[in-house]
């Protein structure tokens, strides 16, 4: 017998019903997950990996975060597996692969569905829809405004501190002809003068939605040696998912990127201050501020002073989002996060043209989803 690639240690199953009434898929996921984890004899907190199926309609996006929050889990690996009837089997090897890659140790693989005689009046029935939307909180802007207000209240950070981040992104975008704001710089005063969307968040602190696309190809380091382009290596990664709704965030001034970045640094044997490029997810200015602090580049609450001490341009001592970030480049929906990977590869290959940074050995790439909820960090290294 060949060696084990992973072991299934717990199972759960709900009795089939022809029809369900007034039960959400989320509720059923909770029931069956509990059975499997009880069977395994594990504490819920031991579950650090989560593989789930898509939930068409009920929770169109952020499915793992929604389920993790519902179950009170904070996994360090989370994914949707969307392979139709192959999803269940597909989850099992992905769980084993994630464990072998060192991302997690115990993975909950769960699929469930309700089945109602008549489709509910409102198919979107996740907790945000039920408990936030009726009070006037729809969309990400309000959630990030709440994070920003909390940072200001706790640390005394100012509107100007945040505006510097948006202005720096616009400045970097002036060297990227593909950026949506190429030829359209905006200084700190312009950011502060832009319309208030949800206090204290100004329009120019929010990414512009655009159409676009990004892709990368990954292979083994061994195979990479025989290919035509200079390889950029993944040296370490970390992931963490803590919640979905801002009301359920464990902290409003520090996010799951903190532990994701710590893991990526630890696994790559690097430190935050060694990074030659900071390619940080920037849907809103507050996201960059919190990431700088969570990375340990400065003390909590001190991002404003840190910004004042550093030059964020390609010629600076701390190049940050040299492609303009999403604040300068535009946010092509989910591909927006991948722009931070693609720019890091360009820089580490030495192919960034007139915005090429000097020393280009190490890059930190961060990704963020929902409301500072879903976090992935990568440390990339030049060949």
């Amino acid at each position: 017998m060949s060696r084990s690639r992973g072991s299934i240690v717990g199972i759960g199953e709900l009795k089939p019903q022809r029809l369900t009434q007034d039960v959400t898929t989320l509720e059923m996921i909770a029931e069956v997950s509990r059975l499997a984890v009880l069977d395994a004899g594990l504490e819920p907190a031991a579950i650090d990996g989560l593989l789930v199926g898509p939930q068409v309609g009920e929770t169109p996006q952020h499915v793992p975060a929604t389920i993790a929050e519902y179950l009170g889990l904070s996994p360090t690996m989370a994914n949707v597996v969307d392979l139709g009837g192959a999803s269940g089997a597909g989850m099992v090897w992905r769980a084993a692969a994630a464990i072998e890659a060192g991302m997690c140790e115990a993975v909950l693989c769960v699929l469930a569905n309700n089945r109602e005689e008549t489709a509910p009046r409102s198919p979107n029935r996740n907790p945000i829809r039920e408990f936030d939307v009726p009070f006037g909180a729809s969309g990400a802007n309000i959630s990030y405004a709440l994070l920003m207000q909390a940072h200001m209240a706790e640390y005394g950070s100012t509107a100007r501190d945040f505006a510097i981040i948006a202005a720096a992104a616009r400045a970097n975008a002036q060297l990227n002809p593909d950026a949506i704001f190429f030829g359209k710089p905006a200084d700190v005063e312009a950011v502060l003068a832009s319309p208030m969307i949800a206090s204290p968040l100004h329009l120019l602190e929010i990414v512009m939605p655009v159409a676009g696309g990004e892709a990368v190809v990954v292979t083994s380091a061994e195979r990479a040696r025989s290919l035509r382009r200079p390889p950029v290596h993944l040296l370490g990664a970390g992931e963490k998912v803590t919640h979905r709704a801002v009301s359920q965030a464990p902290s409003l001034t520090s996010g799951p990127l903190k532990s994701a970045m710590a893991r990526a640094f630890q696994r790559s044997g690097t430190q935050a201050d060694e990074m030659d490029l900071l390619s940080l997810y920037d849907c809103y200015t507050i996201m960059v501020a919190t990431t700088i602090e969570d990375a340990g580049l400065c003390a909590p609450g001190q991002f404003g002073a840190w910004l004042g001490d550093h030059d964020l341009s390609h010629q600076g001592d701390k190049p940050l989002n040299t492609h303009g970030g999403q604040l300068g480049f535009g946010q092509p929906d989910l591909a927006g996060g991948m722009t931070h990977v693609v720019e890091a590869v360009r820089q580490l290959r030495g192919e960034a043209g007139e915005r090429q940074i000097g020393k280009a050995g190490l890059a930190l790439v961060t990704g963020n989803g929902a409301t500072m909820s879903e976090a992935t960090a990568l440390v990339l290294g030049a060949a």
Binding site: V37, P134, A153, I197, A198, S199, S247
Partner: protein, 146 residues
């Protein structure tokens, strides 16, 4: 904000059998939340299992209606068109005295709103239903003798 919130064409809650007790109580101007009989922790929003210990022994308990404002935002550009007539209006994160945090509508007080403000449940008709909104506790009123 001079408009009648009850006339807004806003989206109401998507109530299920599990969450119905919460909304039924809300309609009567009460706030109830779940409490786990095994680990003793309060749970919000309602779930079939306790998110802390995964026990199913969750029971409904009346909440005190006291809370603390963890953060807030004055919404100038609402994400839902039904809220446009009310803008700017304030939403906030309310840390309930029992522990959990909920998002809610914050009614204006006489003072400028600040993070850390103490809040009190203020059931309010919004969009045709009574919702558990909150309002700041007025410091002056508390100091007044009986």
């Amino acid at each position: 904000m001079s408009i009648d919130l009850n006339t807004l064409k806003t989206a109401g809650p998507t109530i299920t059998a599990l969450t119905k007790p919460f909304w039924d109580a809300a309609a009567e101007g009460r706030l109830i939340i779940q409490r786990c009989e095994d680990c003793g922790k309060a749970v919000f929003y309602p779930r079939p299992i306790c998110p802390h210990c995964w026990s199913k022994r969750l029971v409904w308990k009346g909440a005190s209606g006291s809370g603390r404002l963890k953060s807030f935002s004055a919404v100038h550009k609402p994400g839902h068109p039904g809220w446009l007539p009310a803008a700017p209006y304030v939403v906030g994160l309310v840390e309930l005295a029992e522990g959990p945090t909920m998002l809610s509508f914050i009614l204006p007080g006489t003072q400028q709103l600040q993070v850390g403000a103490m809040l009190r449940l203020a059931p309010t008709a919004i969009g045709g239903r009574v919702l558990p909104a909150f309002k700041p506790v007025e410091p002056r009123a508390e100091e007044k003798p009986q």
